[in-house]
Homo-oligomer: 334 residues x 2
DNA sequence: TCATAGGCTGCACACGTTTTCAAAAGCTGG
DNA sequence: CCAGCTTTTGAAAACGTGTGCAGCCTATGA
């Protein structure tokens, strides 16, 4: 190891380690020349202060914990990228932990963050279990949730306005002239699914279209189930002329089975996604979707956390708006 | 804050804090009943040991630093996911930092890791600057590189065998009967590009095909430049009947312009990618590509690092093999 | 009953900082 | 030349944990 400490510097500079500490902090308490001399020596000796020793006395680690279901999810990765950006800009380092949506692991993660004495926590998991939540709040540290279920139970979070966005997506289809519009949801019971479904229904109602339960099927947010769901829709007679999908991944699956059936998007069926993942603009045809400001959401969440860390009490939840991105997977029905 | 310490427990248990420390470590030095009593009290008081205090005395933080260009890159995210998995299983927490390939930021990151006294470092950046490297090795901590340039200058790394894999990809095209096979590379000068190009040339040579410089163009590993590159290839007369792309992202761009020209994959042009990103199986047609065992590479890298942390000196670089995944973007030429 | 060994426990120091408090040194004005 | 003030420095405690060492207690055997 052999890392040099403040005392080592003190020894060669022939001052006390207190003076060294002050010199390195540009404290006005130490004579200018001495300070410069000390700083020079520190530089020469390749000194790097120990954050761990500092943390012990200041009781701040300048560290935050980020828990995600899996960083391999492109949506989450983008959010985390935004988080990390502003965290780093403010001198915070981020601990990353995957929970894999496994309750045991979630608890392990929270404990590890607790023991590491992180200053704050950011959570972007699709749902947080009640138990998990208890462990979280037990550690008296600011917590900010991103797109989480049951935000009300937590104090702070940044959320996408699912209802408005899905209404916009559905409206778009209605305005193109579609009347038989299906919805492929996420697993039943998930809050974001419920909200997106609500937006879909609202749009239908406002347009005077009667809601038809047969046009609503559920996937699990991944392409495979999106395929299954789409197959069920295509088995209907007549099949829908447009489909609004819970997310882009689901749309990807839907798109594939539509093509496998020899049908065309958007000529035979219009398709709308949600998220605007990178791939959405590279599908064939490029996918009309709702853009979530992913990186921005990460940034805002971290900024909110910073406010809390500064002791400022700020708004409870920040609402972000999705944006309808019209590409080429939607067109008027035949 | 009000977090309870070992001394608080000692007070209520009416023992010294040393005894508490030993009891919590299941040390045989403390009487069984006392130990149990202490552990019960600790439990009741909601005690969580402070990793920072412990680190200070043990001089180990059980922490590793992972530096990536950007976690938003799906390839990298998958690798990191593997890293985090085994790190967590072994009680290590991971600090994640994006360098954005910005030299200043790279240096900042390394300094921050140094100050945090991470036990080891994992780097998965496309290239590490020389300067950056100096800073890295300055801190006398085990470092493992993943798919990095100039691995020779570092001691330990895990690498994909680019040459063999690209040769396999190109062979596949040759065996289908293609004779006019193009290569769209990454930015010129990158080692991975050089290696993949080498594999391509080797395959050509072994098949007795003469190498034609006009069939080699460069992108930047992203779809946009892949499009430009493909346009240049389509301007050739005759254009190639098959294209091997540096990576899937590039292939994505190529695929798009091929379609925009009214041509079809694989009927008019065969296309091969590299990486096997998730999207590769959801393009139209699904993309033939070389699978890199991304998560596995992350796991192996972390395992290697763990060995080094245990003081075992192990092999210098671990070579991983890519796997040719044949989907539907390749077929015999017309 | 006493010496002794072995099982438990506490004392004290260390880790590398920050920070309070006291004291030394330097300066000013009379 | 000295009182009193300001500037600069050092000593010491604290943060929470781990651990070597000394010493206490108890049981055992003579």
């Amino acid at each position: 190891m052999s890392s040099v400490s403040i005392k080592d510097i003190a020894r060669v500079a022939k001052v006390s380690h207190s003076t060294v500490s002050r010199a390195l902090h540009n404290s006005p308490l130490v004579r200018r020349e001495t300070a410069e001399r000390i700083r020079r020596i520190a530089e020469e000796m390749g000194y790097r202060p120990s954050a761990v020793a500092r943390s012990l006395v200041t009781r701040k680690t300048k560290t935050i914990g980020v828990v995600v279901t899996t960083i391999a999810d492109p949506f989450i990765a983008e959010v985390v990228s935004g988080i990390e950006e502003v965290a780093n800009d403010h001198g915070y380092s981020v601990f990353l932990a995957n929970s894999n949506a496994d309750p045991d692991r979630e608890i392990k993660v929270v404990h590890s963050f607790h023991e590491r004495r992180v200053d704050g926590i950011l959570v972007t998991a699709s749902r947080v279990g009640a138990l998990y939540m208890d462990h979280l709040s037990e550690m008296k540290v600011p917590i900010v949730l991103i797109n989480n279920q049951h935000p009300g139970e937590f104090v702070h979070s940044v959320m996408i306005d699912n209802v408005t966005a899905s209404r916009a997506a559905t409206d778009h289809l209605i305005q193109l002239g579609h009347r038989r519009i299906a919805y492929i949801g996420d697993q039943f019971g998930y809050q974001s699914d419920t909200e997106r479904f609500a937006g879909y229904r609202q749009a239908l109602e406002r347009a005077g279209l009667t809601f038809q339960p047969e046009l609503v099927v559920h996937g699990d947010g991944k392409p495979e189930e999106g395929m299954r769901a789409m197959e069920r829709l295509l088995a209907l007679s007549p099949p829908p002329t447009a489909v609004f999908c819970y997310n882009d991944m689901t749309a990807l699956g839907a798109l594939r089975v539509i093509r496998m059936r020899g049908l065309h998007v958007p000529e035979d069926i219009s398709l709308v996604g949600f998220d605007d993942l990178f791939i959405a603009s590279y599908t064939e045809p490029p996918l009309t979707t709702i853009r979530q400001p992913k990186r921005q959401m990460g940034r805002r969440a971290m900024e909110l956390l910073l406010q809390l860390l500064r002791g400022e009490n700020s708004q409870q939840t920040i609402w972000m708006q999705g944006e309808l991105i019209i590409r080429h997977s939607t067109a008027p029905p035949r």
